[in-house]
């Protein structure tokens, strides 16, 4: 029943996302556009603009939701999120470097992806050097250190840059699904599906790991290996979404909470439901970003944060 509601929510968000915008389309016109039987303009808007954009947003939300759910479970930390382990700082640093070097716009996401991967690798190396074999606290702290370093490097780089560079980098950091293309959707779909599949395979081990590292070791979990698997899969998922749409904050932090509030208990359920809920949330947020203040577009990351705050406040009231 709850699964049906979740799937319905995703479907509704996707349909609404394709229908609404500067040019409003009826469901019939959307269908005609998809089949290519309507006016050329309709077909172009549906096929080339809205559908890839909505699907990209859905994939970004699914990846962030699933990664956040798995990372929160494996670290036993409800504040863990996919941009942890230096992902956000590293991605932003990569993008800023690309913008500052006046690289072509198409290279900026790739630079962000490379920066995220570099930061994750550095975080895990730092944690390993500190002797934290699978110790969640040490990995989290190493991520904070690497992220802080990346942010400092960005500020140094931007301090002397001219206004257009600052604006370009800042805009990318705020997240947007506007540059969606079918090629991007296909690539991200493969990436996100594989990432979520790996997390689902690890789901039962995450259930055990969430009981604590010593207990999990006694129950047959290879703590260091499972934890590393979750960190790498979660961080790679986040990095992939960053390459596609920049930094979309709050989704990976918030969605797992929503899913657990709705009663999901084991991580197979939590991760699957978080993927669906994340997809619905980001599609809705992207829709709001497009239609709230036309013709301007709001940054996607700002909309997800604004949507997230009331949920989070409600959650806080429950915890208190």
């Amino acid at each position: 029943m709850r699964w049906l509601l979740l799937v319905l929510a995703v479907a509704t968000a996707i349909v609404a996302g394709v229908m609404l915008g500067t040019l409003r389309l009826s469901p019939v016109e959307v269908l005609q556009g998809m089949l290519g039987t309507g006016a050329p303009m309709q077909t172009a808007v549906v096929r080339e603009l809205r559908l890839p954009r909505v699907l990209l947003a859905a994939l970004v939300g699914a990846g962030l939701g699933a990664a956040g759910a798995a990372l929160q479970g494996a670290t036993r930390n409800v504040l863990a999120e996919p941009y942890l382990l230096g992902v956000s700082g590293g991605a932003a640093m990569g993008a800023v470097i690309a913008v500052a070097l006046r690289a072509p716009a198409a290279l900026v996401p790739l630079a962000g992806f490379a920066g995220a991967l570099g930061a994750v690798a550095l975080t895990l190396l730092v944690a390993r050097a500190a002797g934290g074999r699978g110790d969640a606290r040490i990995v989290l702290m190493a991520g904070v250190v690497v992220g802080a370093f990346a942010n400092a490097a960005i500020m140094v780089a931007l301090a002397g840059a001219d206004a257009s560079v600052v604006r370009g980098a800042l805009w990318w950091m705020m997240g947007s699904a506007a540059d969606a293309s079918w090629g991007g959707v296909r690539g991200l779909a493969l990436y996100v599906l594989i990432g979520i599949a790996i997390l689902l395979l690890l789901a039962r081990a995450i259930d055990v790991l969430a009981l604590g590292e010593d207990t999990a070791a006694g129950m047959g979990v290879d703590v260091a290996r499972v934890a590393l698997g979750v960190y790498v899969a979660g961080a790679l998922l986040a990095a992939g979404t960053v390459a596609a749409a920049g930094l979309v904050g709050f989704v990976g932090l918030l969605v797992p909470h929503l899913v657990r509030m709705a009663g999901a208990r084991t991580h197979r359920t939590i991760i699957s439901a978080a993927a669906l809920a994340g997809a619905a949330l980001v599609v809705m947020a992207d829709l709001i970003a497009r239609v709230a203040l036309p013709p301007a577009e709001l940054p996607l990351g700002a909309v997800t944060a604004i949507l997230g705050v009331p949920f989070f406040l409600a959650r806080l009231r429950r915890l208190a």
């Binding site: 036993r76 039962r204 009981l211 604590g212 010593d214 129950m219 047959g220 979990v221 657990r260 208990r265």
Partner: protein, 262 residues
């Protein structure tokens, strides 16, 4: 059977080893208890058993095979561990939690079999936790949580169960219930290895006691052999006498008040 053979563990940045040449065994159908003051190495024994503390010397054998040779998963089907502290981070259901005890028996793809469900039912029945089955583990009282953790360990299905201070924070009734359950598990053929501070209760229930002091075995044997005033006074560094409990006849430790200075 679990055998500790000349086990030594050194933690980094510590001058003295946490364990230094500890040898004893926990056979099947027996309740073996490890006692000793804080910092004597009791919990390190448990950590070494699950591979969370590296041996610098010696070996730990489970059913004759060294633990580092077996995979964690295979080991977990033979020995279940109830660690000293386990604070649930998420509100898992009690039945799901006990079911996680079957983790080492499940493959990556294989779901729960009838045998898994039966093991969970049996563990819940044995620990009398059926009335808690629909609750979340984050909502349980201290006594309920310890019983549920025991159920999870029993569901794991191994022949050995190791418990690190399972009755800390429990009142007398709940504490006795745990000891009675451990006694029953030992009678049913399990090798039960208990780490505890409760010397007097251990002396009544255990078949063998091992007294640790600064990482070494200070005394080992039957409760009557280990519960000797002289050695206990030295190990615990506190004046005490050992008497015989008039009600149950077991040796009983009575700590004395501090000697007046001067």
């Amino acid at each position: 059977m679990i055998v500790f053979d000349d086990v030594a563990v050194r933690y980094p940045h510590r001058e003295l080893p946490a364990l230094d040449g500890v040898s004893f065994e926990a056979p099947r159908s027996r309740l073996t208890a490890v006692v000793g003051p804080n910092g004597s190495g009791k919990s390190t024994l448990v950590r070494a058993l699950v591979g969370r503390a590296e041996l610098s010397r010696g070996a730990i054998l489970v059913d004759g095979a060294p633990v580092e040779a077996a995979s964690r998963r295979v080991l977990a089907t033979r020995v279940a561990i109830v660690t000293q502290r386990e604070e649930p981070a998420f509100p898992l259901g009690v039945r799901d939690y006990v079911g996680l005890g079957r983790y080492p028996h499940l493959g990556l793809w294989r779901g729960r079999s009838r045998a898994d469900v039966a093991a969970v039912d049996e563990a819940i029945a044995l620990t009398e936790t059926a009335s808690l089955a629909h609750r979340a583990i984050t909502e349980l009282s201290g006594g309920e949580w310890q019983r549920v953790r025991l159920a999870r360990a029993i569901a794991q299905g191994g022949e050995a169960i190791v418990l690190d201070e399972p009755t800390t924070f429990l009142d007398v009734g709940h504490e006795m219930a745990v000891f009675e359950l451990l006694d029953r598990l030992a009678r049913d053929g399990h090798a039960v290895l208990l780490v505890s501070h409760q010397l007097n209760l251990v002396a009544r229930f255990a078949d063998r006691m091992v007294l640790l002091h600064r990482g070494q075995v200070a005394a080992a044997g039957t409760p009557a052999q280990v519960m000797q005033g002289e050695v206990l006074e030295r190990v615990y560094d506190w004046p005490l006498v050992v008497t015989r409990d008039p009600a149950v006849g077991a040796p009983a430790l009575v700590p004395l008040r501090a000697r007046p200075r001067g």
